[in-house]
Assembly symmetry: D2
Homo-oligomer: 440 residues x 4
């Protein structure tokens, strides 16, 4: 049987990355057919990206059949892997998620706080529809979800769709492992980090190089200013006391929770100078697509790395390769907790090291959370579950509760105004919410 | 055997309340002997309060022997009940707990945030010493702890002393029940409220009047502006959306967590106008003691109610009465979780409805926390446990962690400066901390 | 509104007990109307019992309207309390439950082992139907379930019917408390026993008399041969080592689990001498009904106490009284675990001390089971849940699993023959099971 | 640094197996030094086995230095791995463990029931002493424990010694995997079985061959009489209903729990015909040592396989190899539960699939036990923990409780006599028990 991969949101500027990944790994993960799928609004971009991808494949001499289409159902039939990299509402919606909270005095970020909550509200119904189609058309295919907020979206899929072959992936752990390898001058394949927590809220509890504990060395490097923030986050560094107390590796997104005031100030200033990150990215995208249209381009252009998604393609391809080949290596994925973290519900999704087998990821047991992380991780998970509840119920009250229990919002008196503006801005993508009263 | 009660911090301005309580309940709780205990610094106040208490007893005609002393050990011998109402460092220390955080941009409050944390640091060692003395001198006596932060202090005692007959009491649930009775025009003894949570972080999940659910009526009254804040907290009201979503009765202290920005602004303004709450209270105290000195005064003066501790005496006396008489009624106390709330550790202290028997409180089972409270309550409990850990270990790192995990602080970059100033201010009362490096 | 009680299985020989209870408690629990309901097969008994009950009421001078009917739906309309004391298949079915297991080398008992399992299979569908009718016809009525196995049946109702106002009652804890009061020469109302466990598998962890621990005294009495077995169980006494080790009060049904070999021998001998307990009871019943028919009888006859259900009526009437009057006293009932026992699922039914309010029972928190009980209680609960699963699914495999996990059966090679004979014997009452293959 | 392995109980007849293992794996696990240790009583056997091992090494041409000694402390210094294969009291003690219970009507087996309990009582103090010596003399060495009951002993070590580098190993999962590979005609390295449970009480929940689920095929083979019992257990086969219901692979030791009556009959008959298994093994041993003494023997003799410990050496060597090389493969070991199985305590030892790294085993998360296993596994674990408690406390009451809660004993009236005889028989090896009263 031919090995078929379908990429939902195939017109994304990231697509050349994953195409490159398929080409480089063709010896071990021999993709026969790739189908890029997008929606009517993305038709023109899909065409541009599709033609670039075809030129890349042609140049490479590997045998991959490529197609692009707007007919998702047709594309899904018989797929082995379906990868999602969609953005419901596009970068325009992201700009609103970033700008509106700032205006109300809250951090505006596309995966945390109010912005992440509304991205989840827009995304969950679309991906549930996709999952239903997969149950019908390719029931044995793995859905590899990259769409943010990846942890929340993956949990929503596992809770509310019949399709249970779903894994969420994020490049942050991948990125941290690579950065730590650089810091320690060790080959990345010798480095393992025990991650505990949730997507965008993981800590690295222990760094092992060939089984030897090097955590203290990495913390020492961080104390001296080493950093591993991706392109889309400007790190503010961590104080000595913070690192001495927490004794684990923070991830770049922790700045939103532990440096809230400074990040808000920084973001407001950046916004005044350059607009939102979405607007910066729109300009990057414009330039990327200019290059993509150049018919002499037949490789992934360097500039793509500025996009913030470095290693996304590696993360995706490694995962598909291990699933396909029953490889049994350890990767960091978003999957069901079961009992891995004792403090969280069994049906919660966590970001965790797991052995990747053909039958799916098998998480490594963690046990009880260390006391000093228990509160915040439980708190974040509560927010995530309230967000899913609201995304499904479409009730204003549920959205209010999710906002109230998000540590970046939590301001009883300002939530109504914040939500009202966000619901108004995004209402076209939120048909599940019945907001007549609230917005009238 | 004579029934003996010892009041630690007997020179407090609150003492006339509890003396009044003993007088009024003498038919069912026939106290034979009351000993007021205080420290050298409180000698003069103890004398004033002791003489007023004696005049009150004389007037009442009940047979209670009263003494006051600075010799705690002598006083404890043979006690049946020991009640604590101490304030380590006095109102001066409280003023620092309120003022210093404000200066750093944080809420300054004596039971929450950085102020509550330092109050716990100062209080825990003193009460552990008391508990050890009780184990030796009156092993069967109940320690009724009123000293704030009452939940944290009670948990520290149950975890780190041999004396296990300890119950923490707060007037907030007592107060809420009375206010709700007023709102519903029902006799308070017909009203029961199911409380869930932690001291100063409880919610009223269900209001029953003679077993009939009246929660919605109370919420409706709150929506219309009804309030039940004690004298020391200025309520800001609750939005309709908040009450519609949470569907439970908040307690007055919730404003610190859900209205943080507004409370901070309000407190800053109040501070500029009147100084800290401690300073306001110092003035109230000054006037109270002026009255207490008046040898013609032989009842509890009205002005005492402005002090914020309304119902404290009722709460204390009712509890002692039920313990003494094996009454089996339901009261709200701070006691071991055991399995009452499934999401919290068994050895955590919670504030909970319990059947009060001679053998101690028997909490009514709660089960899992409702999803929307799970995160915050777990978070607060984590903070509490980190605070206890720091109070015992005396390590700066542990204090930093507690601050980091407190939702009112959590600001990685500003904690060092905040802690440094607080440690400097309170160092005389914190011998367990070895802070040379930090404060040098 | 008149207070109406409906008794399902009203033609039972026990009915005079509960009628006596209503008469004696009429001042505090003023029943206006009692309806006895039975099925066509029980028509004649219903008539006899109804007339005796009428004579008892007439004699008492209390104002209770009594009716008896075969029309259950008509009877239920407007009920406040519905009490069940049915026996699906009658004493004939019980005799089979007792005889068939014995034949296969297993204990035959109507609430434990294979007998109890089949009693549950027969009873659960009938009571689920009743609960559905109640949801429609008297949604606010409490269902007080006495039908054995009371714990299993109550859990099945709470899990599989919409009607959630269900409480299971057993006379064993009532009985134990009375016996302990006698042993200690204390008024029963001063005695409280902390019960932990499951119906027919509870232990008394602590005996308090007016709040003073008297557990050791009761254990000493048991060591000297004191016993508190009901009429239907012949106690074999407990060894000193057993009582010294377990340090709690066993209940009479523990003999099945801890004295299995001796009980089996005893039961086999008794069976050879007198037939099954069901057959003994049939004879008692025959004599009772002879008396009931005597139109000069207008009180509960003494002989009824030989039936084994002593205190059933007290247990039932006390419970209804407290629910009706929001009394807030503590009774031992079968109700949802929620979090009361940490080791058991939240939706399991346990037998537990609870505060009885108009809004239902509020269990007293227990926490983790003592280590030495954890295994057996979890094991029994597993059996109970597998039994419910089988009673609902009607699958042979599920029934096999339940038998396999019952400590009194567990014999992989003999279960098929045992089940086959039981299914054959009871098939008329087990329409939910599709057993063609098994029984062909 | 030279790689040093110490074998405690080096005079065992199994030693040639592990020596062969070291020889065959020398390319990847390059042992430099092996020290065989035994006690005075085993001096002569140690000499015989040592000389055979030396001849095997000489023949193989690998560079391993071999020594044998009675001085355990001297041997331990600088060790990297310490493997235990001791039998406190020798086969004579085993014979008593097997014979005495049979006499009282209980199964006599060296790892289950009363026999296993007393083996634990004898073994735990000896291995705790070893662990203490290791903490002093080779703190970084792994203790690989083969001594049965392996799960109980490993848990006792992890709970009561400072030395935390302890892993328990059993050949049963190894054996099952090999047998399943044969049944499926698949190379064993392509087969993985998800094991859940406890040592000698594991089930195989899922069989994967290259990631494809083949569980049903293995169950079908078992239904047709395929078996995978080791030499020391005579399998009785499993009924179709059992396999259809349980839907998992039983292990050979399950016969003791699910076929108790038949196994007891079988064992009684075997005992009458051939004496206990210990006596059979004594004869095998005698013949083995006759061969070992033959100076022309320089390989492991075939007959060793009749001993019942097939694959023990493979299990041991594979584990040491993976620990040494940080291999990251999955092996089935006895290690701390942490949160792997949600229903069991975090500090319990379970038998579980784990990724083997230089930093130790990392168990794969399991979550909640399937309902139908929950009861029995919790029950067994309770017994195990009570056994450890008794082995440490030395209290008769604790031993009684452990026996009472063992599903193979549980007979309140017969435990005293059973224990008395076992304590009398083994008292020389049970100095921790103070049994004057019991045995007088």
């Amino acid at each position: 049987m031919p090995l078929k991969v379908v990429i939902i949101g195939g017109g994304s500027s990231y697509t050349p990355e994953i195409i490159e990944g398929f080409i480089l790994r063709h010896h071990s993960f021999p993709v026969d057919e790739v189908v890029l799928v997008d929606i009517e609004d993305g038709k023109e971009k899909l065409e541009v990206v599709g033609q670039l991808a075809q030129r890349m494949i042609d140049k490479s001499n590997v045998k991959i059949t490529l197609r692009w289409t707007l007919d998702r159902k047709e594309a899904l039939r018989g797929a082995d892997f379906v990868s999602t990299q969609i953005r419901v509402g596009g970068l325009e919606a992201r700009a609103l998620d970033e700008r509106i909270p700032l205006k109300h005095g809250f951090i505006g970020q596309e995966t945390n706080g109010a912005g992440g909550m509304f991205k989840a509200f827009r995304t969950i119904p679309v991906l549930l529809e996709l999952a239903d189609e997969m149950t019908e058309l390719c029931p044995n295919a793995w859905l590899i979800n990259f769409t943010n907020p990846a942890g929340i979206v993956t949990e929503a899929l596992l809770k509310h769709s019949k399709h249970q072959k779903v894994i969420g992936v994020c490049n942050i752990p991948f990125n941290m492992r690579n950065s730590v390898a650089e810091i320690l001058h060790a080959p990345v394949e010798h480095v393992s980090i025990e991650f505990i927590g949730l997507n965008h809220f993981i800590f690295g509890r222990q760094v092992l190089v060939n089984g030897v504990d090097r955590t203290a060395d990495v913390l020492a490097a961080l104390r001296q200013g080493n950093d591993y923030s991706p392109a889309n986050i400007v790190g503010l560094g961590w104080s000595e006391s913070f690192l001495n107390s927490i004794k684990m590796l923070p991830n770049p997104y922790h700045q939103y929770y532990f440096q809230t005031r400074d990040v808000l100030a920084k973001d407001l200033q950046a916004y005044e100078e350059n607009g939102t990150r979405a607007e910066v990215v729109q300009e990057v995208e414009r330039r990327l697509f200019e290059q993509y249209r150049d018919v002499s381009l037949d490789v992934k252009p360097k500039e793509l790395e500025q996009r913030g998604g470095a290693y996304y393609s590696d993360a995706a391809c490694n995962l598909m390769d291990s699933l396909y080949n029953d490889r049994g290596d350890i990767q960091t994925v978003n999957t069901l907790n079961q009992g891995t973290i004792r403090d969280l519900p069994e049906d919660a999704v966590i970001e965790v090291n797991a052995v990747i087998t053909k039958a799916g990821p098998r998480p490594l047991s963690i046990g009880s959370l260390p006391l000093h992380l228990r509160g915040l991780i439980t708190n974040l998970k509560t927010f995530e579950q309230l967000t899913i509840q609201a995304a499904i119920s479409g009730k204003y009250e549920d959205a209010y509760l999710a906002a109230l229990m998000n540590p970046l919002i939590q301001d009883e008196k300002r939530i109504d105004a914040l939500l009202e503006e966000l619901f108004r801005a995004h209402h076209l993508y939120l048909p599940q919410f019945q907001l007549k009263e609230v917005l009238s």
